[in-house]
Symmetry: C2
Subunit: 269 residues, 2 copies
């Protein structure tokens, strides 16, 4: 655990990350002292900081801190938070403020191996995501919608919940991005009004382009999700989970998802 480069596990109660959720984060998978796709994550961090007007710490500085962390914790889930830092009272962002850099490591969660091979059971959450184009796509610290959605069920059989917006479009999972296979091509929801554009989503999209598989980023209805040929969820920790069951619909073959999962696991750029 590092806070602004110093070993420690606390931050100031005046940090704007706590006061307003005024910051962004990344979740990385560390394995044998290496983190997968760190440059991609940094690029997304930089994008998200820019969108909020937070001065993103340099790649060199964060890479050095990550290296230090991995020496002591070679395996696990690495979380990096960058907040706008300390502020005077009030919402107005202080000029020239120094961002806070927070690194934490937790053990890798133990998911059933079936999640990857057989696929998971998913549900549709009751909570509807709100539309805020200014924050859409950003992995920021205002995550109460995800918390409320994740609290909706406690059936351990259900591994993930799908989130819809108020217009009934399917946007994402509570902690993952969604892809549909339709007529051999990939479809993933448009995230310009809500949702988080994860790093793993980007890798799947890059795979489609590289392999001449058609890719559409657009609004997707629940009906369309239920009628997809395959359905799968991705994030940097779980990798790729096909969906085996959603509402009354069941799937039992995931040929395209399996190819993509193999690529994601191979760790290729």
């Amino acid at each position: 655990m590092l806070v602004n480069g110093i070993p420690g596990n606390t931050i100031s109660i005046r940090d704007r990350g706590l006061l307003y959720g005024d910051g962004v984060f990344r979740t990385l998978r560390a394995s044998q002292g290496k983190v997968q796709h760190w440059p991609l994550h940094y690029q997304k961090l930089q994008h998200d900081c820019h969108a909020l007007g937070i001065a993103c710490p340099s790649f060199d500085l964060l890479s050095a801190e990550l290296g230090e962390l991995l020496v002591r914790h070679p395996d696990g889930v690495v979380k990096l938070i960058v907040t706008r830092g300390l502020g005077m009272r009030g919402y107005v962002p202080p000029a020239g403020g120094e961002p806070t850099r927070i690194w934490d490591v937790s053990p890798l969660p133990q998911y059933p191996s079936d999640n990857v091979t057989r696929g998971i059971k998913a549900r549709v959450c009751d909570l509807r995501l709100s539309a805020q184009p200014r924050l859409a796509g950003i992995k920021h610290l205002n995550r109460l919608e995800n918390v409320l959605a994740a609290a909706e069920w406690d059936d351990a059989e259900i591994a993930e919940g799908l989130l819809l917006d108020a217009d009934g479009h399917v946007i994402e999972g509570t902690r993952s991005n969604l892809f549909l296979v339709v007529h051999g091509g990939l479809v993933t929801p448009d995230l310009s009004r809500c949702g988080v554009a994860g790093g793993q989503r980007e890798r799947v999209m890059a795979w489609a382009v590289q392999h001449n598989v058609s890719l559409q980023v657009r609004d997707v209805s629940l009906d369309e999700v239920l009628q997809a040929d395959e359905l799968f969820l991705v994030n940097s920790i779980i990798g790729l989970w096909p969906v085996r069951e959603l509402q009354q619909r069941c799937w039992d073959a995931f040929p395209l998802a399996a190819r993509i999962a193999q690529y994601l696991e191979s760790g290729e750029a």
Copy 2:
């Protein structure tokens, strides 16, 4: 500064208040060792905790901590934050978790006395609030919309910005609630889809009922705001500020606002 009853100014980097903005807060005005309307604020804290499924600390516990704080800091802005506390990794709220209680005090801001007597210049923010009925009204820690809106202007002449929703309804100020005087009665925006229902708003509404002044809580358009007989903004720190100028419209008399301001300042229940 107290954290869980112990003098200190830090919290864990694993506190869900930081990780997800998973908590609520109150802002109180302390004067000569007393805080105004503490029972009302506690009631609202309890309501907000309940809405998020956070176990609200007891009135006695928080009152004791507040008393301790006021001995050392008799005057200033007192901020109370209650988060869901520490959690394992992931959005799912831990069962039986212990909330974190955070108290902080800052000096009272020095606003021009003209703000109260002559009224302020306000502007309309570009940012549009998103609609989320599950979080509407709650003073929670997901405040990035307020941060983005407050960052829109740096003209010191403009004391507050008004926030509209995506449908063009006027909802509130970036850190205050809004009232219109229309035909001698009060109108305040409906906060069932977005906005924060502040303690001072509640007191103004109670005043209207006590004084047989008609009160409507409903959707309000910007046109209607610009055509109001009087316009004013309230919160627990500023008290009541009439609006003297908004877009091309100017106001120079605030008879009803002045009566209400007097009542709010008197500190009556």
